[in-house]
């Protein structure tokens, strides 16, 4: 009997020793979440020009929409719709993510098929279901004829207005749309009182339940792809089985229902949730995540603490954004 109990203890202790080893390693390396930088390299003149373009409806075919129509700058950069509507009221397939901190995402769009912000502008303006322009020649011509864009582009970019520079200016503006200095970032930088006890507890749960395996880095996500339903078949959840996500881009079998892990930085401010915008509250979103991604039961009290932690993630909205 002694032998058996000893053996059990032994296996358990080995497990603990791995745990300790991993934890000591984790303690050695930095926290999995990093503060948002106060700014990214950008040219202020080009960004100012981009700001004008961001809210200019001439970027859409029928002059009805601007970038801001789906990314309200004074409302955390989203439109709060399940799915956004493009020109002629066409319903899009997926939810519009916030434009804030989008420069920190490693790729753009839910399926990550776009590499850069510049390219995102290029594609969205020409997308018949979004801005609906026929071509970039048409867009450039339209802008050239109005206001003093031609003159401004000549002054700032040192060459005649062209599609590449228009895309760059908007992307340059988006690079200024960061939300630094959040309570949690101040906590990370050593201000122990920046967040309350409940939020600290929530952060510990966020790490120990494994949320942080995907939602990490400065943007608390936005830097990898993950499959929806890794531990439980997502088809059991209504409305989640149909969108094949990244599979449509790569054609790899495993990429079915794989999406870019979204940033949780402004999650508390930007309902509804998920690629299809089908979930109204953060609490329901956490229920789905723990069930299908973590495969674990999490007590309600712990989920509440995690929400308290998520509330400490949003930082200052840029002055220009108000």
């Amino acid at each position: 009997m002694l032998g058996v109990t000893l053996f059990l203890r032994q296996t358990y202790k080995i497990g603990l020793s791995i745990g300790c080893f991993l934890m000591s390693q984790a303690a050695l390396s930095a926290e999995p979440i990093l503060p948002i930088p106060s700014s990214l390299p950008h040219d202020p003149d080009k960004a100012a020009l981009g700001k004008l373009l961001f809210s200019d409806v001439r970027l859409s075919k029928d002059n009805s929409l601007s970038c801001e129509s789906c990314h309200f700058l004074d409302r955390a950069g989203v439109d709060f719709l399940d799915q956004s509507r493009g020109v002629n009221g066409q319903l899009n397939k997926r939810n519009s993510p916030t434009v804030y901190n989008s420069a920190l995402n490693f790729r753009q769009l839910w399926d990550g098929r776009i590499d850069s912000l510049d390219d995102q502008v290029r594609v969205v303006v020409k997308n018949p279901k979004v801005m609906g322009m026929d071509s970039w020649e048409e867009t450039t011509q339209k802008l050239k004829e109005t206001d003093n864009y031609a003159e401004q582009f000549q002054n700032i970019y040192g060459r005649p207005i062209n599609s590449q520079d228009i895309q760059h200016a908007i992307a340059e503006y988006e690079r200024t749309l960061l939300t630094p200095n959040s309570p949690f970032d101040r906590y990370l930088k050593g201000d122990a009182n920046a967040i309350n006890q409940q939020a600290k507890l929530g952060y510990q749960y966020f790490k120990s339940y494994g949320c942080v395996s995907c939602h990490q880095g400065a943007n608390v996500g936005g830097n990898l792809f993950q499959k929806v339903g890794v531990l439980k078949d997502i088809n059991l959840l209504k409305g989640f089985g149909t969108d094949m996500g990244r599979f449509a881009v790569t054609g790899n079998e495993w990429d079915k229902r794989v999406f870019k892990v979204p940033s949780l930085r402004l999650a508390v401010l930007t309902p509804p949730y998920f690629h299809n915008g089908s979930v109204r509250t953060l609490r329901e979103a956490i229920d789905i995540m723990t069930e299908f991604q973590l495969g674990r039961q999490v007590p309600d009290a712990h989920k509440d603490a995690i929400i308290e932690f998520l509330k400490t993630l949003p930082g200052d909205l840029p002055k220009g954004g108000k």
Partner: protein, 576 residues
């Protein structure tokens, strides 16, 4: 006078024409363009090496966020896009092999970036499940133990295999899990609350699937020999550049000769006036010397970057090995300590029994019946302990633990003295100690190929040198020897000999040896015979450079199939 004016203006016009021609083909701008591509290739090489290190760090839990990894992937594709548009593009139409190499490299890094993405996703899931499943299994076992010993043993078997697998990752344990995982759900009726068992089931399945996937993606990503392709690309590109600039140079020199002849002709008439052009030529020479100097400096800089990236790559290979080396003894030391702790609880019970007997004897010395009953109880307890051989077991466990701790501290000590963190200073260095340290560092790779090492050195031999650099040379040679020896085993003999003028360090291995072609290229940068993903092709070339810096010599003797002998010799005046 008229002919003088004619000759003068002829000379002038030719000079101007030549000047314009020279300016148009200005070599310095061509060279600058050339360097842009070369620097981009260096950057790609460094980024690639850094990516490998980060991959390993993420796999072994040393890097908690993916931001750096994501940035490296983006940098890789951005740098490549720039390279494609750089000066290299002008040779792509004429040189098919250059275009092929470029395409091959593009495919390789695109594949690598894809593999890295898949790795990141699977690694995230794996890390969660491997952390959660085993302790949950322990809980389930303890609930089951009172009800059904045989069913508990199934879970024990699986859980034990899980622990071992996450520690050592051997295939055998994976098979045990694989064979038994389907039986987990049969236990459902035994539990009043089914949820923990269902969770356990899905996490065990996740561990099995994800461990294999994660490992595959990691290995495939690391196996892509993009560095070799890049080196090939670099070589082809440089060839193209040199041949095109040689053409330019040849044309230019013909033109200058013709101009010189013309000038010579005119010189008969205007010897005095030519002084002016002479100083002009001198200036040109000065300019060119300066250009050559700055180009030399640039090449030197990029060479240093390459050495750094080689270091990064070998560091990455070492991280995994060392983590494992430390983790194994750490596991059993931890475990032993807890068992000893347990043993002391029995000792404590015994001591408490004794003190009770003593108390009884003092209080009621006449109550012999009660006293003897107590004594018998204590004796029985002692007898049980003796049967279990507790004292000896504790001693063995403690011996075992101190052995494990020694292993760890030995490794740490060696690691510390091995690196001596790049001190550029020249120090008095004990060659034998250096060899011992290096052998310890290389022990995992030596073990892999079953290499038995024969140390034929014992005297203290000191050398004034840079210890960390010399250690790097030893490590390169020993690693190469270990990799040359087949898995069935072999020998590596290392001897240190004092000669008349030099100290010789000789490495003899019984590996597969080298043919003449390999021997001739062994010190060439980027030359490697290793399978893809293992060698940077820089190890021996850097070693050669380091030996030369120490005024030493390297000699390689080898025939295909007959092992290799590498002799390093350092001049005696360096030796005390």
């Amino acid at each position: 006078m008229k002919i003088n004016v004619l000759l003068l203006s002829l000379l002038l016009i030719t000079g101007i024409a030549l000047g314009i021609f020279y300016h148009k083909n200005a070599e310095d701008s061509a060279h600058e363009n050339y360097m842009v591509s070369v620097n981009l290739m260096n950057q790609l090489k460094q980024t690639d090496a850094g990516l490998n290190v980060l991959l390993l760090k993420s796999r072994y839990g040393l890097q908690a966020d993916y931001d750096e990894l994501a940035k490296k992937s983006v940098l890789l594709s951005d740098s490549f896009a720039k390279l494609k548009k750089s000066n290299m593009a002008r040779y792509l139409d004429t040189d098919i092999s250059l275009a092929d190499a470029l395409r091959e490299y593009e495919e390789q890094i695109n594949l690598k970036i894809d593999l890295v993405e898949s790795f990141k996703s699977h690694n995230a899931v794996l890390r969660n499940s491997i952390k959660y499943a085993p302790p949950l299994g322990d809980q389930l076992i303890s609930t089951l133990e009172n009800k059904s010993e045989s069913d508990a043993s199934l879970l024990k078997k699986i859980n034990q295999a899980l622990y071992r697998w996450s520690l050592y990752g051997d295939k055998e344990q994976a098979d045990i899990i694989q064979d038994n995982v389907r039986k987990i759900l049969d236990l459902l009726p035994l539990f009043s609350n089914e949820i923990p068992l269902l969770e356990y089931n899905s996490h065990v399945i996740a561990v099995v699937d994800e461990q294999e996937q994660t490992q595959n993606y990691l290995q495939n990503a690391l196996a892509i020999d993009s560095e070799k392709t890049l080196s090939k690309l670099d070589g082809l590109y440089t060839e193209n550049y040199l041949s095109s600039s040689a053409n330019d140079g040849q044309l230019r020199s013909y033109a200058i000769i013709a101009y010189g002849l013309l000038a010579l002709l005119v010189a008969f008439y205007f010897a005095m006036k030519l002084r002016g052009s002479y100083t002009q030529l001198e200036d040109k020479v000065k300019d060119r010397t300066q250009q050559i100097n700055s180009a030399y400096k640039e090449v030197k800089e990029s060479q240093e970057q390459l050495i750094q990236s080689e270091k990064m790559a070998s560091l990455g290979q070492m991280v995994a090995g060392i983590a494992h080396e430390i983790n194994t003894p750490l596991g059993y030391v931890n475990n032993n300590v807890s068992i000893v702790n347990n043993l002391f609880i029995s000792m404590d019970t015994l001591m408490k029994g004794l003190s009770r007997v003593y108390g009884e004897a003092v209080k009621k010395p006449n109550n012999k019946e009660a006293l003897s009953k107590q004594v018998v109880q204590v004796l029985r307890q002692y007898h049980r302990m003796e049967q279990d051989d507790i004292v000896n077991e504790a001693k063995e466990l403690l011996d075992d633990s101190s052995h494990g701790l020694n292993d760890i501290s030995e490794l740490v000590k060696n690691l510390r003295s091995f690196s001596r963190l790049d001190r550029q200073l020249i120090e008095r260095f004990d060659i034998c100690e250096g060899l011992d340290n290096t052998l310890k560092i290389a022990s995992s790779i030596l073990k892999q190929s079953n290499v038995s090492v024969i140390k034929d050195y014992n005297e203290d031999v000191f050398l004034e040198c840079n210890p960390s650099k010399l250690n790097q040379v030893f490590l390169n040679i020993i690693t190469n020897a270990a990799q040359a020896i087949p898995e069935t085993g072999g020998q590596l003999t290392i001897s240190v000999k004092k000669m008349d003028d030099t100290v010789n360090i000789i490495f003899i291995d019984t590996g597969e040896g080298m043919d003449e072609e390999t021997r001739a290229k062994i010190f060439d940068p980027f030359f490697t015979t290793k399978p893809i993903g293992e060698g940077t092709g820089l190890g021996m070339s850097i070693s050669y450079k380091i030996v030369k810096e120490h005024r030493g010599q390297v000699e390689v003797q080898s025939e295909k199939g007959e092992g290799a002998t590498i002799t390093l010799s350092f001049p005696y005046q360096n030796v005390e």
